[in-house]
C-alpha cells in the first residue's frame, strides 16, 4: 500500500469522511498527510464549515 497520499486523493477522502466511517489505516494516512500539508488541513476545515453553513440555510 502506498503510504503517502497526494492532495487529490486527500480531497476525495475528506469528502468521503463526511459521509461514512473511514477504515483506521486510511484515517491514519489521512491524518499523516494533514501533518505535512497545511493546504489540505485548510480544505478539511473549509469542507466542515461548508456543511455547517448549508445546515443554517
Amino acid at each position: 500500500m502506498k503510504v503517502e497520499l497526494d492532495c487529490k486523493e486527500v480531497s476525495r477522502l475528506i469528502s468521503e469522511g463526511l459521509d461514512q466511517a473511514m477504515p483506521a489505516p486510511e484515517r491514519a494516512r489521512l491524518r499523516y498527510h494533514f501533518v505535512i500539508c497545511q493546504t489540505c488541513r485548510t480544505v478539511d476545515e473549509q469542507m466542515k464549515f461548508l456543511r455547517r453553513a448549508v445546515k443554517e440555510l
Binding site: 492532495c7 487529490k8 468521503e16 459521509d19 480544505v43 476545515e45 473549509q46 469542507m47 453553513a53 440555510l57
Partner: protein, 185 residues
Amino acid sequence: MSIEAELAQLHQPLLRFAMMQLRNESIAEDVVSETFLAILEKPESFEGRSSLRTYATGILKFKIIDVIRKRGREVHIEPLDEQSMDDAMDALFAKDGHWQDPPPVWQHPEKSLEQRQFFEVLQTCVDRLPAKVGRVFMMREWLDKEVDEICAELGITSSNCGVMLYRARMRLRDCLDRNWFAGQR
C-alpha cells in the same frame, strides 16, 4: 404580524428549496401549499415551539421526502458525464496530485454565519450546481439523509453518489472562495 402574513413571506424561499429537490414546479407548489395548510389547520401546534420558519421548513422536509419516496425509481438521474467531471477535477491538481493553486485560508469563517449576505452568496452557489449534483448534495446536507437512502431513492450507485457529493463540495468551496472570502482578503 399574522401567521398568514408570515407564511406569505416564507413562500418564495420554501418554494425555491422544494423546486431544487423535486425539479417540478407544480409538485413543488403542491408541497409548499400542503405545508401551509398543515400549519393553518393546527396553528396551536406551532405556537411558541420555534420560529415559524423553522417549523414550516421541518414540515416541508417531510413532505418532500414523502414525494420522493412515492416516485421511487421514477426519479431518474442520468449517470454523470465521467469525462467532463474528471477534466474539471483534474484542472485543480498538478500532475503529481498536488494543488495547482493551493486554496487560501478563510479568515474567521464563523463570522460569516452572522451575515445575511453570506447566505445569499451561499444560496446562489448552491443554485449554480448542476441539477442532479445539487439535488444529491441537498438531500445529504439539508435533509440529513444517509448516502444509502439517497442511492435507494434516486436509483444511483453509492460510488456515483459519492462522486456527486465530492464534486458538489469542491465546487461550492471554490464558489464561496471566489464570491465571498476573496473579498475579505
